[in-house]
Each structure stands twice: as C-alpha cells, then as structure tokens.
Symmetry: C2
Subunit: 354 residues, 2 copies
C-alpha cells in the first residue's frame, strides 16, 4: 500500500510525541511492505511565530493533498493569559477541522489492564470499561458567530446546529454501535437548550432505523457524574462538540492519563489523527511527555484511514507489551513503580518500536 | 429570631426530601428558641399539572415575600423524551432564579470521612478535599435567545455574558476565597469562546483587588479532568452557568453521592436552598431517596440566609454523627455496609433529628 502522510507536530510537546508516531508508521511500513511517504507542515503557535497565521495556506494545501494527517498538539500559555489576543493558535486547529470537513471525532477510551492502578478511580470501578466517544467536531458554539461590544461590556457566542450536522454524526455513531455492544448513549442538555432539543429529536428519529441498537438519552450534567460513578455503563457515547470536549477529557482519567488517549477525526476527506492531550508547555522539550497517545493515534490511522486492521493491532499490542513489561512514563507511573522503570519520551518510544 | 420560610417541594423525590429539611428547621427552632413559620408552594411538573404554568404567579409572590426558600427538585421524564414540548418543568426553576436575581449558586463539596469508601474514587485521592463552587446562575446560554427554524432544520441558543454579571459573582467568590485557603480557580474555555475571554478579562481585573488570593485560570476540559485526577488541588472554583452545572454534578462523586450535596443560590433578595440532585422519578415515592442533601440545604439556609452559624453547625454535626453511627441510605452504602444499617428516607431523616 502506498500512502502520503502529513505530519503536523504543532506546539509544545507535539513535536516530541509525533516523532514517535511517525517512527511507528515507518516501522510498520518496513515490516508489512507498505510505502508511506512523509511530509511535514506547521500549525498553531509555531506557525504564528513563523508566518503570522495559525494555519498557513501551504499547510492547508498539503493537508488536503495527503492521505492522512498525524497531528501533535496546539496552544501556548502566552495566548491563554491574554484574552484580548486576536490571533490564536487554536484558530488553526478549528479552521483545519472545518476546512477538511472533519465532523466526527472518535475518541476510544482504551483501558490497558496494566494501568488499572494508575487511575484515581478504583480498579473495580474501571475494570471492563470500553467506551467509544463520537464527538461532533465542526458545529456547536465553537463555530457560531462571536460578538464583543466595543466598550467590552458584553460578549456572546452562538451555539447552533443544523439538522444535517446532527444526522451525519448520529449515523456514524449508530453504525459503530452496531459493530460493538449495540448500545448508544446520546448526551445533551435538552431540558434547557433548544440546540439540544433539535439534537434529541434527530437522534430519536434515526434511532428508529437502528432498532437493534439500544438508545439512551442523558443530560450532560448527569453524564459527567455517571462517567465517574460507573464508567462501565457506557459503550458508544454520542455528543455535541462542547460537551464532547469536556466529557472526553474527563474520561481520560479512566485510561489512567491523558497521555494514553488517541483520537481520529474523520468526515468528507482526509482523516486527522491526534492525541487528545494538549501542548503541555510546562514539560515541553524535557523528554517527559508520554508518546503512547501519538503512537496509538498512528494505530488509529492504520485502522481507520487505511483499513489496515492487522497493522493497527500490531501497534496496540506493542504498546500493551511494553506496559506489561513494566515500562512507564511519569504520568502513568504510580507509587509502586520502581524508578528504573520510569522512562522518558524517547526511551518509551524506542521500547514500543522494539 | 423570626423568619418566614417557603417550602417548594417541586417534583419527584423533592416532596419526600424537603419534608426532612423542614423537620430539621422545626427542630432547630424549638431547640434554639427561634420562630420559623412555614408556607408551601408548587413549581415544575407538579405546577404544570395543577395550573398549566411551571411557575404560577402565586408561587413567585410567596417566594418574594419569604425570608428564605427550601426547594426540592424539578423535572419529569415525560418532557425529557418529548423535545418538542413547549411548556417544561425546568422553565419554572430558571424563571424563579431570574426573578429573584439568584446569580450566585454556592455548591460546597463537603466530604464526610465516613463516606470516603462510598466514592468510586480512591480514598487517598479524596482525603482532604474541600471545594466551594461558585456557579453563575442567571446568565450564559441558559438565558440567551433561543431559536428554531420553522422547518426544524436549525436550532440555536445564544451564550452570552454582560460584564456586570461576571463582576458580581467574581467578587463574591473572591470574598469567600479570602476566608478560606486564599486560592481561586476560574474555569472557562477562553481558547475558543468570546464569552470566556470576557470572563477571563474581568476575573484578571478583579484579581488585582484581591492580591492576597492566588488566582488560577483553567480550561473547562482540563478542569473536568483535574477534578477526577486530583480534587484536592481545588479550593474556591468560580465558573459560568453551564460549566458549573457540569462540574458540580461531576464533583458530587467526590462526596460519594449526589444525595449528599446541598446548594445555596443567593443574589439580590431572598435566598434559595436546594439539593443539587434531581427529581429521580425512578425512585420517587419509594422511601429510598437520601434526605441528607435537603437537610444540609437547611443548614446552608441557617448559615447563609439567617447568619445562624451555631445552629448550622449543629445540623452538620447531626449528619456527621448519623453517618459515624453507621447509618446509610442506599446511595451511600457500599459492599461492606450491613443490610440492617441501610435506611429509607424517613428512617434516615428521623436518625438525624434524634
Ligand atoms: C485546543 C482546543 C481548541 C481543542 C478543543 O476544544 O476542541 C482541544 O481541547 C481538543 O479537545 O481537541
Ligand atoms: C434542572 C436543570 C435546569 C438545572 C440546571 O441545569 O441548572 C439542574 O441541573 C441544576 O443544576 O440545578
């Protein structure tokens, strides 16, 4: 198989971790006889520094022309503490999602038995959890009109959904539910939001086409609570952009650490694969970041973008074996991990490649 | 002290639990020589059934005329599954919050040592946690303009904040932080939302007036994660209406159960005290609901509305003693709780009164 892969490291630890995602793809290509060619592009703070634009045209063109994209992370504290900044790294990520039509963000909460103890949740609460989030990614309050009064006395963001936006992600989620435990939970705030009421209506309609799948509707506040109380009760979770952002970060604690979670953004064209963690500037450049989320993002690329099931499984197994052998990065170590088993980004990446 | 208290049981288990909040207030009045007089009013589904209006004028008038309000819960599955219903129970609650100017919702996450084991989180993660949420309650996407296209192809809700709305709750939160550990964390999504950027600007400005308080800003996705990972790191948490709704429900798992958490809504006039749990129709009328959140709401009323510190402490101590003696309702029992220690609503209420 021949594929062109675009690497966008982005900001902060993005650089360090995508190096390992890429090396995994190279290793797989070598072992399974594929031809993966790689190009690189800039985005976010890095791109603002270089060009003034968080998503340069060149990056967007390369992205559209590639078969799949491996992305690192975005963001910088500089902008976070300056709410009045007009140009911001995150605009690059939001724009590329919109431009590539990446409306479905899949976030599997993959639980490795070896990490049961790394979580703040009790092992007996966690054991057996297997959740697949479908987060809508190109609508909601993220992309609605933003306003600010001239005298800074008022600000607004329009939360909004078109029926077709809800329909297409809902179908994707139901298709996935069919191939899993046939259970789907749609999360909204229909007791307060009109957007959520439209969301719920559409899901109720489409549910009829998937009568073999059991559908549940849950309010976001309740879902945020149930996810901590009893994560096992969830299988496929379908939700809007903002609620999905919050719930999936929360759910990362089920997997022990944000450093373990990969995501796939798919839609009309090229797929986009990225860890769910952020740029973590506090540990950037220190060889401390966990490369496993980027490596698992590469596995999702193999599976979802290229249909290479076997290759994807080989990567996931390599991660599992590395964990089984006792190797940890700092974020997934616990009090009983001996110091000589705690590795840096590069050493961990190399162990998985082995 | 002479006070007029309005009881609004609302829907579902609201009826059962407010009975005990009220009895606690009566007991305190007797013991400490106060004169509390009680009136009752309807709201929510109950009020729709009786009058067609989720907040009848009579209820609103009584509310305005009272010194404090003890509320139960709101909501009914009938409306949840019918997104097109025009009249909804929740409208009653939202309207009374707006009409009474209840802009600050205080939700203390009070952790009883006896319940450390009732949580899905590890005891060592929980121990020592003590959080006070300040959730803004009369603005945000809850009250912004709602739209729906005639052909049902589009829906929207306006998320918005006025500067003065952010200012007044921010000051309340800083005042509280001064009297606690002098740490305040403001939660927003300033990397995406204009509303959040205004929020952050205002908090940054007011922070200067409270230089003795350490201020942190956190994105909502990260906060939802940190709250599970390391709840101890939070003290006063300040946030907007929607984010506060989500975070405080999530945080209820720190306290072992939603059935333990009380809240105080305050603002321009009469204060409003209510459990954070919902109407739980699935267990309503079965003598299963945990009355402690209503009892602790009564304690908050004594403390915040009437300034009766000693009386409030007596109530909290009675709850702690009941838990210490091993009594539990179903929601806070765990695998090691012997069956004869698990009480119904009424038996639990009576134990606390004892
Ligand atoms: C960086 C930010 C804009 C982004 C989001 O909110 O979507 C991130 O949190 C994510 O989840 O991918
Ligand atoms: C019932 C609902 C409208 C309400 C809210 O979202 O504010 C509830 O969840 C709460 O937290 O008080």
């Amino acid at each position: 198989m021949q594929k062109n892969i675009l690497i966008i490291p982005g900001d902060g630890i993005g650089q360090e971790v995508t190096t390992w995602g890429k090396q995994i793809l190279e290793t797989i290509a070598r072992q399974y006889g594929h031809e993966f060619s790689f190009d690189e592009a800039i985005m976010g703070h890095t791109a603002i520094e270089a060009t003034g634009n968080p998503l340069p045209d060149e990056t967007l063109e390369k992205a559209k022309a590639s078969d799949a994209i491996l992305f690192g992370a975005i963001g910088h504290a500089k902008y976070d503490n300056d709410p009045s900044a007009k140009v911001r790294p995150e605009q690059g990520l939001l724009k590329i999602r919109k431009e590539l039509g990446l409306y479905a963000n899949l976030r599997p909460i993959l639980l490795f038995d070896e990490l049961l103890d790394a979580s703040s949740l009790k092992p007996e609460v966690l054991r057996g959890t297997d959740i697949l989030f479908f987060r809508e990614l190109t609508g909601d309050v993220y992309f609605g009109e933003k306003k600010r009064n001239e005298d800074n006395t008022f600000a607004s963001d329009l939360m909004n959904y078109h029926r077709y936006e809800v329909e297409r992600i809902t179908r994707k989620a139901y298709e996935a539910a069919r191939n899993r435990s046939k259970k789907l939970c749609s999360v909204d705030k229909a007791n307060v939001l009109e957007t959520s009421r439209l969301w719920r209506e559409v899901v109720q309609e489409i549910a009829k086409e998937y009568a073999d799948v059991e559908t549940e509707h849950m309010f976001i506040d309740n879902a945020a609570m149930q996810l901590v109380k009893n994560p096992k009760k969830f299988d496929v979770v379908l939700t809007a952009n903002l609620f999905g952002d919050i719930l999936t970060d929360e759910a990362s604690q089920i997997a022990g650490s944000m450093g373990m979670l990969a995501s796939a953004s798919i839609g009309d064209g090229t797929g986009f694969f990225e860890p769910i963690h952020g740029s973590a500037h506090d540990i950037a450049g220190q060889n401390k970041a966990n490369p496993l989320a980027s490596i698992l993002s590469a596995a999702l690329m193999l599976e979802i973008a290229f249909g290479l099931q076997e290759e994807a499984k080989a990567v996931t197994k390599a991660v599992a074996d590395t964990l089984k052998a006792g190797w940890r990065t700092g974020d997934i170590a616990n009090a009983t991990t001996s110091a000589d088993r705690i590795l840096g980004t590069n050493e961990m990446g190399a162990k998985v490649i082995e």
